[in-house]
Symmetry: C2
Subunit: 230 residues, 2 copies
DNA sequence: GTAGACATATGTGTTGACAGAATAACCGAA
DNA sequence: TTCGGTTATTCTGTCAACACATATGTCTAC
C-alpha cells in the first residue's frame, strides 16, 4: 500500500495537506503562503512546493504564476460535474465488477452492507462517521473489483476525495435508509453476476445520491465567501 | 488558454517533458536522472523536481523514494483500461453535447469532419499527421461541448495524452474510412439533438477504435523492454 | 570460483539563500 | 476626502550546496 515514496517529506506533506483541505482545516479559498505553511509543518519550502504541484494536478488547489496558490472553492456547478462523471464511472465499475467479483469479494461486500444496516438501527451517538465509512467502503470495494487500474485511481484517488469537500453535516436517517436500499439492490445485481442490472442500479444510486447531496448543500449552505489567508 | 503559470520554468519543463515522453524522445522505461535531465534542459533541479511531481500525478512517470523516476511503460492491460474509461466518458460527453451544442458549434464540427473527408481522399504525402489532428479535433470539440469542466479535463488533459503513448505508425486507409463513417454517424446524432443516439454512436466508435488500436499494437509490437537510462 | 562484506561513488532528499515580481503601505496632489 | 504615484516589504521562482540513502565495484575469506 506504500504509495510511491512514502518516506519523503514531500509525500507526507502531500497527504497531510490533502487531509487538511478535505477536512476544512484549510478553508476553501484560502490563500496559501509558502513560508507560513512551511513553518507550520516544520519543513522547508522545497518539499512543500513539490507537494503543492501534486495538489494542483489533483484539483485541490489552483495556482497562478507569481501569485501563489489558493484552496479550491467548491461550487454547485463543480458538484454537478463530479456527479455526472461519477455516475458513468461507477456504473462502469459495477458493470465490470458484476462479471469479475469472486465469492469472497461478494461476501466481504455483503458483510459491509450488513454492517451498514446495523449502524442505521443502532444508537444515535457517533453514527455519522461510521455510516460515512460504510458508504465509502461499499463504493471502494466495487471500484477495486473492476480490476481496472485507471478506473480505480480516478474514483478512489480523485473523485472520492473531491466529493469530501461537499460532505454535509445534516443528513437525516430516512435518506440514509434510502441509500441502504439502493446498496442492497446493487449488491443483489452483483451477486447475480448481471452486468447491465448492476450498472443501472449503480447509476441510479449515484443519481439519487446527487439529489440528496445537492439538497443538503442548499439547506446547509455554509459557504463563506471570505477568502481568508493563512 | 494560459494554463495556470505559463511563465515559470517548472511549467515549461512540465510541458516539454510531457511532449518528450509522448513523442518517445524519453523512451518508456527510461530511468530519469535528475542531474542529467536538469543539465540537458539547462535548469536547476528545483523546477525539474516540481515538474516531475506533476508528471507523476499525470501517470506519465512512476517514482519511488530514493530510487528515482522512470518513464511509464505502456502495457496492453493499461491500453484496455484507458479505452474502457474513455468509452464511458466520451459517451457521456456526446450525450451532454447533444443537448447543449449550438448551431455554430455543430457547423464547426461538421467543417472538421468535411476536412477529415478531404484529407482521406487527398494524396499520400503527410496524411498521417493531418488525419490524426482531425480525429483529435473531433473528440476535442465534443468534449468541450459537454460544458463539464471535470469531464473536459479528464479527457483532454489526461486520457488523450496517455493514448498518444500507444499511437501506431501503421494504419491503413480502410480503417480510416471506417472511423470517418463513425464520426459522421455521431455528428448526425448530435445534429438531431438526440442524446441517447449520440452516446451510443460515440461508445461504439470508441469500442471500434479500441479494436483498431489493439490490432495495430499487436502487429507493430515495437516495444523494447530494455530499460535504457538517460 | 563464488559468496559476503566493505569502501567508494552516484543520486535523491532537503535546506538555506538570492533575484525578480506583486502586493501593500505610504505620501502627496487634486 | 479621494485618487494616483512611489516606495517598501513580502512572496514566489530559482539556484547552489549539504546530508543521507542506495547502487556499484573491489577485496577478502571460504
Amino acid at each position: 500500500m506504500r504509495d510511491a515514496d512514502s518516506g519523503t517529506l514531500a509525500e507526507q506533506l502531500f497527504h497531510s495537506l490533502t487531509e487538511a483541505i478535505l477536512l476544512g482545516e484549510l478553508a476553501p479559498g484560502t490563500k496559501i503562503s509558502e513560508p507560513i505553511l512551511a513553518q507550520r509543518y516544520g519543513v522547508s519550502r522545497g518539499p512543500l512546493r513539490e507537494a503543492l504541484h501534486r495538489l494542483q494536478e489533483r484539483r485541490l488547489i489552483v495556482r497562478s504564476a507569481n501569485h501563489g496558490a489558493r484552496v479550491i472553492v467548491p461550487t454547485p456547478q463543480m458538484l454537478a460535474s463530479i456527479f455526472a462523471v461519477r455516475e458513468t464511472l461507477e456504473g462502469l465499475a459495477a458493470k465490470e465488477a458484476a462479471t469479475l467479483m469472486s465469492d469472497d469479494e461478494l461476501a466481504a461486500l455483503a458483510d459491509g452492507v450488513r454492517c451498514h444496516e446495523r449502524e442505521l438501527q443502532g444508537s444515535e451517538a457517533g453514527r455519522h462517521n461510521a455510516l460515512g465509512k460504510a458508504d465509502e467502503d461499499f463504493h471502494f470495494r466495487i471500484a477495486q473489483a473492476s480490476q481496472n487500474p485507471l478506473l480505480i485511481d480516478l474514483l478512489c484517488n480523485q473523485l472520492y476525495p473531491l466529493l469530501r469537500l461537499y460532505r454535509s453535516r445534516n443528513d437525516n436517517s430516512s435518506l440514509r435508509k434510502r441509500a441502504l436500499t439502493e446498496h442492497q439492490r446493487v449488491l443483489s445485481a452483483l451477486r447475480d453476476h448481471d452486468p447491465e442490472m448492476a450498472e443501472l442500479a449503480m447509476k441510479r444510486h449515484i443519481a439519487s445520491a446527487k439529489a440528496r447531496r445537492t439538497m443538503a448543500l442548499q439547506s446547509g449552505s455554509d459557504l463563506d465567501p471570505e477568502t481568508e489567508k493563512i
